[in-house]
Every structure is written in C-alpha cells, then in structure tokens.
C-alpha cells in the first residue's frame, strides 16, 4: 500500500489540508477536493484537459504526483475569473465560439494563460498553435480558439497599458 500523509495544498489561493497518498496524481487530488473543473481525458499527458497552473506554468495534472507539488501554487480555470469578473480569456472563449462541448476548454484556457504570462503577451497565430498543441479539441478545429486567444491577448495588453 502507498503511504498517505496530510499536506497543505493551495488551490486558487486557498490553502487546504488534504490527506494524500503517495501514488496520487494532482488530477486525482484536485478532483477529490471538488475541483472538478479540472477534467480528465487521457491520464497520460496526451490531451491537456487536466492542465493547471503550477506556480504560473501550465502542467498536466495527471502527470504530477501530488506530494511533489507541496508548497507550490495551483491555479485552475476557476481561479482565473468568475461570472461577475471573468478573465479576458474566459470572455473571449465564450464570445468567439471557441467553446463547443467545452470539456477541453478549462485546459485550453490554462495553457493560453501560461503562454501569455510566460512567453509572449502578443502571440502570433503560429505561437498560439505551438503553445496549444498539447491540448486536444475534437469539436472546433481550433480556429475559434486561435481567435479567442488573440483577442484576449489584445484585451490584456490594453488593460496593462491603461494601468
């Protein structure tokens, strides 16, 4: 049997005590904690549906053992915005038709956020394609996802410029 221990996991800025077994993946822990916005699609890093930000970088939560992420900040799509105050990526995905079945959407938004925060705030179309190639969408053909990320990046640049 794998040993278990209680650890503190900060999800979307809220530290919580959880009992976690050594063999648990971050995906399993998060969903077990109720963070079901983190989706499971393949459990082997092929689809990106489970992507979360780990200290601001997008990772596949299905490939992280939870014990190894102690002390690190975990952000899910719910940590980016709310209905009253959505993140520009969330607004753009909804309004530009980038959401169809929506199951891949949380992972895409996380991967796009990671691109904009860590690589470039003004990505070209090929840079977006490259940053999202680990996220699998079967519905959209990716066109409107590219549109949404481009639009959100522009909104974010404008917001940053105003401040």
């Amino acid at each position: 049997m794998s040993p278990s221990r209680t650890m503190t996991l900060a999800v979307n800025g809220r530290p919580r005590q959880v009992a976690v077994a050594a063999n648990e993946t971050l995906l399993e822990t998060l969903r077990g904690m109720g963070a079901v916005e983190v989706k499971s699609g393949c459990e082997k890093g092929d689809c990106g549906a489970c992507a979360v930000l780990l200290d601001g970088l997008a990772v596949d939560s299905c490939l992280c053992l939870t014990w190894t992420v102690a002390q690190r900040a975990v952000t899910t799509v719910k940590g980016l915005g709310t209905a009253a105050d959505p993140h520009p990526l969330q607004t753009a995905f909804a309004e530009r038709g980038a959401v169809q079945c929506g199951y891949c959407t949380p992972g895409f938004i996380i991967a796009a956020k990671s691109l904009l925060d860590n690589d470039t705030d003004d990505p070209g179309e090929d840079e977006i394609r490259y940053a999202l190639s680990g996220n699998f969408c079967r519905c959209t053909g990716y066109n409107k996802i590219l549109d949404a990320v481009t639009e959100a990046a522009q909104v974010l640049r404008e917001e940053a410029g105003v401040q």
Binding site: M1, S2, P3, A22, N23, E24, T25, E28, E43, K44, G45, D46, G48, A51, L57, A58, V59, D60, C62, L63, C64, L65, W67, T68, A70, A111, S114, L115, N118, D119, R129, Y130, A131, L132, S133, G134, N135
Partner: protein, 294 residues
Amino acid sequence: MYAEFDLLTPAAVGGALDELAKVENEEDCMPLGGGTNLVVDLRARAVAPKVLISVGRLSGLRGIELGEGRVSMGGAVTVSEILRHPERSRFGPALIGAAQVFAGQMVRNTATIAGNICCGSPAADLVPPLLALDAVVRLECSAGSRELPLADYFTGYKSSVRKPNELLTRVWWPEPPAGSASLFYKLARRKGDAITVVGVAVSLARENGICTRARIALGAVAPVVERVRPAEAMLEGNALEPDLIEAAARAAAQQSSPIDDVRASGKYRRQQVFVLVRRLLSRAWRSLSEGDHP
C-alpha cells in the same frame, strides 16, 4: 492511480543520493524527474518500483551555465527552460530544434533533460542533438561521481551504464563554435505533440572548405539513439560534395535497424534516414558555405 509505491522527496541532491545508496534491486527504486514518462509507465504497470525518489525540483539539479566554452545543464532543467533561456542561441540549433518539436506545452514545462536521456526511449527527441553536440553526462552517487560521453551511455534498448545508485545530475557539451552548424528534423505522423518516426541530428564544422568535424545521430531507427560513425568518418577531412553527402546518407540508412510499428514500417524508416540525413547535411553544409549558421 492503481500502482502502489512510496515517494521520497529529499530536500537536496545529497539526500537523494543517500536514498539511492540504499537500493539493492534496480527495479525497486527509481528517480522521478518531471514524471512525464515515468507516471505513464506506472499507470500502465510497465514498471513497478516500490520507491520513487523525487528529484525534479532539487536546486542542485537545476540551472543552465555557460562559460569556459561549455554549455552545462542540470539534469532537472526542463525543455521549456531550454527554450526560454535568453542565451539559447548558444546551445546549438539542433538542440533548440528538438526542444521546439518536443511534445506539447505542458509536457515541455515538466519534462527534464536527464529524464529524456534516462527513459532510454529510442525516440527521445533531445538525445540525437545531444549526441551530435558531443554531450557528456555526469553520474553521481553518494561515493562520488563520474563523467562519460553520452555516446557511451546507452548499452541497449532501455538499458544504460547508469548504476541503480547513480543519478544523472548534469549534461554538458562544448559550446558550438563559429564555423559550425547543427540541425535536427523530426519526421512524425503529425505536426503537433507527436511521437518521432525518424529523428535525425547532424552537426558539422568547416574550415577552409573542408569538413573538420561531422556528427550524425539517428533516433527511432535502432534500439538506442546512436551516432553513425562510418558516415561521419567519410565526411571528415573532405569537402562535402553532393555525391559524398549521398554516400554518407546511404551509410546512415545502412547502419539503421528500424522496426515496423504502428507509426511506420522499418522499410520506410530506413528510406527516410537516407532522405533526411542527405537533406540535413546539405542544408548544414550550405549554411556554412554561406557563412550563415543555422
């Protein structure tokens, strides 16, 4: 996950080596880097260690250093860290090329250079360019450390000279000098997030119209990623005329021993070794003659 194991999370490299020193059976204990291969294997029950030692976040295994004519990377440097490094143009274009076609963003953000070497996959994308760049790996254990050329590291399919109590802590190679060029091409069944069908890295140096150093490394066409020394020898000391490049490419294809799998047949892979070695050598040589270093 169904696999059962304990997970050790030492705070420093020394602690990890102390834990590894206790290992008796190779299968019982495995170092865990980014986990992008190992966690998949654990779930598939392809491996069943009793203990994992997490080393992916150890500061002693991180950092990229440039100096004294070397590029040196800690074993836990991630593929993204390679791509985001401000001095990446000094690493060798073949390595950057391989990092750029490495999986998807999330995996690149997690997968480590040592993990890509140690997983032993013949399709590991960083290995051909590292071989072409004459990389050296450092293996450390609690009793000391040793260094050896990456070319001498693999002993067979998923097997290497690494002892169970050793950790691959660092990879370094000579900083590619002016007058050298390197290239990598990944032939795959799709463009994004793909498994390599044939991976080819070449590295050339040129002085006074003569090739002074040639490296050709092939991925996914033999049980291990390997250099094609006979072809390299054909090139060194000569001007690379099309006929010579073609002969070297033929030698590379001949040395390869690809298998049939769901991605491609061995026959096609061998054919493509010829096509890609010829193509990359021609491009690299042409770039050197034009004074442009890809």
